[in-house]
Symmetry: C2
Subunit: 322 residues, 2 copies
DNA sequence: CCCTCACGTGGCAACGATGCCACACCGGAA
DNA sequence: TTCCGGTGTGGCATCGTTGCCACGTGAGGG
């Protein structure tokens, strides 16, 4: 029996007599034959692997995103090579190199630097930018609508009567912070409330630093009545600092956040926040990438941008100012 | 220039004139040449991929574990193919199949069924069982010391004066619950305190179910003065239920947990718990596996079991009973 | 009776990298 | 002059799979 015949019998492509087919299949099952995926990839110039590059698996936002991606990929027969880049551009570039070596079918990335995207693009790898978009030129993107989300929260606070709302936002270029800042401003503009520049506090993506920045903001502007933390890590730092100061929420200060992670419904008061439907976002990333791979519009189609609509979750941490 | 020469020039193995070597390297850099990892794996019968199989990426315990594994693997030049099996034996077996097809160099798994381990073993794949050990026959293991950890917590509660300590434990066979139950019993035995069977409440690994079970336990045994939740998910359910009932911690009831995840220090009172050093545990898994792969004792060495020493973190949720 | 066609099957090359072997060249020694 | 060893280089097979092509066989129709 020739290898060709076996291949046809197992794959079902091309002619193969029914009797032979079943005989081959039985034999394969008996010896626990499992086709070599590497050889297959080599021959077919196609791989069942997708590179997934995220910033921090220990942050529940990224963990949920990765879980969604994994689910989406697995149900389509792909698997996920997961790399944590810690938001470090060098690590990101190294991972891109590794992905290229494996000849992954595509890459899903929460991008840090534009070089990594360029590299992937010039290697002809399909890319989906997740959560944030560094460039519209390189591939598709699945994003939260940060501006709308931040606007929802800010409007909620304005409608409660708050007029001096501190914003805690991360300073990194690549983050989705810019959109959130824009939403914060837009809501103020729509309500006709001016924004003091020193209500906006930039900090690094790190709960401890966020706590310190929160403290500084409250010291400098004791008149703020509400605080809006730009992501779940900043919210953690801010919440801890408020606890440390013994501030009673929401009586003395309202707190709202971005990203609905589980601790926010466990603490008292529970935190008002914006859900990004992170798991779904991950699934969408997988779907967008797989659609690209199935080649319906492999090269031709213009980059597609999917926006996940955020949802406001009002909880106990926000109320009318005193 | 022949392929052989190029291979030698790039890899540095075998003869290659210095001039040729630099010329080849320059050319390779110029055209962004990246060797094909699949072809290499095929030829060398070795792969840079490690299969990692965990139960639930959205559970911070597993996320931390995976992050540790990833870090350990990446720093050694390997990468992680991550599959979520949701604690489902069929999914686990499918993933094992997929890993076999890729000819992964090894597998790290929080095991669900013994069949999966058997399959991997008979295929000659090196396995590390993480967090729990289903069988001592198949490969190495990196485990928490559940008995000691549970004993620490229980002794702490006993020393505070508690005599009726409810235990919330998951009922799955494969979990590390058995060890924790043993530790709970051991601490009681050491203190000469008898354990009522109905203080031990079995529940499924699901916060909502854990909440319901907590409620039932408190209804049936209103005399319990302390509750010990056997893992972070059960703790979440228990904590939510206690909040719902408006019980004041630790005055009316003490609560302790297993697995130190971040929300436990954010809620008030913060939860007394046992840290398993989960990230380190993940790194250890990687190290144990890589040691096996480096072949110092590839086949011969007896299965190695690494035990990570747990640490008690006393916080505000536990106090003397009234 | 021969041609055609449908149905099966095997041979062969190729994917890309690598290691073994053979071979070529040169200097120095017998 | 011949032989030897050190130094480089190229040829070739191989890993496992797959697709193309060629070929063989048997039935049915002209």
């Amino acid at each position: 029996m020739s290898p060709s015949t076996v291949s046809r019998a197992l794959s079902g492509k091309g002619y193969a007599a029914a009797e032979v087919r079943s005989r081959v299949r039985a034999a394969a099952a008996r010896i626990d034959y499992i086709p070599d995926a590497n050889a297959r990839s080599l021959r077919n110039r196609s791989s069942p692997s997708i590179g997934v590059l995220i910033s921090d698996l220990r942050n529940p936002f990224y963990a949920d995103l990765a879980a969604g991606v994994e689910q989406g990929l697995r149900s389509a027969g792909y698997h996920m090579i997961l790399v944590n880049d810690d938001g470090d551009a060098d690590e990101e570039l190294l991972a891109v190199q590794a992905f290229a070596a494996i000849r992954v079918a595509g890459v899903i990335v929460t991008p840090v630097s534009i070089q990594a995207l360029q590299r992937l693009h010039q290697q002809g790898v399909h890319v989906v930018q997740a959560d944030r978009q560094l460039s519209e030129r390189y591939g598709d993107a699945v994003l939260g609508d940060n501006e709308t989300g931040a606007e929802l929260v800010t409007r909620h606070l304005l409608e409660l009567g708050h007029r001096r709302i501190g914003l805690l936002i991360d300073e990194t270029k690549w983050s989705s912070g810019a959109g959130r800042l824009a939403g914060y401003r837009a809501a103020h503009a729509a309500a006709g409330v001016p924004v003091d520049a020193d209500l906006i506090a930039f900090t690094s993506v790190d709960a401890v630093a966020a706590g310190a920045t929160t403290g500084k903001l409250l010291d400098e502007r004791p008149d703020v009545t509400a605080l809006f933390a730009g992501n779940n890590v900043l919210a953690e730092g801010a919440f801890a600092e408020l606890q440390r100061r013994g501030l009673r929420l929401p009586e003395q200060l309202s707190l709202a956040a971005y990203d609905d992670v589980s601790w926010m419904s466990l603490v008292r008061p529970a935190i008002t926040t914006v859900s990004q439907h992170t798991f779904d976002m991950g699934q969408q990333c997988a779907e967008v990438l797989l659609a690209r791979l199935s080649g319906d519009h492999a090269k031709d189609g213009a980059p597609q941008v999917v926006r996940i609509k955020p949802a406001l979750r009002v909880r106990g941490s926000t109320a009318h100012p005193r």
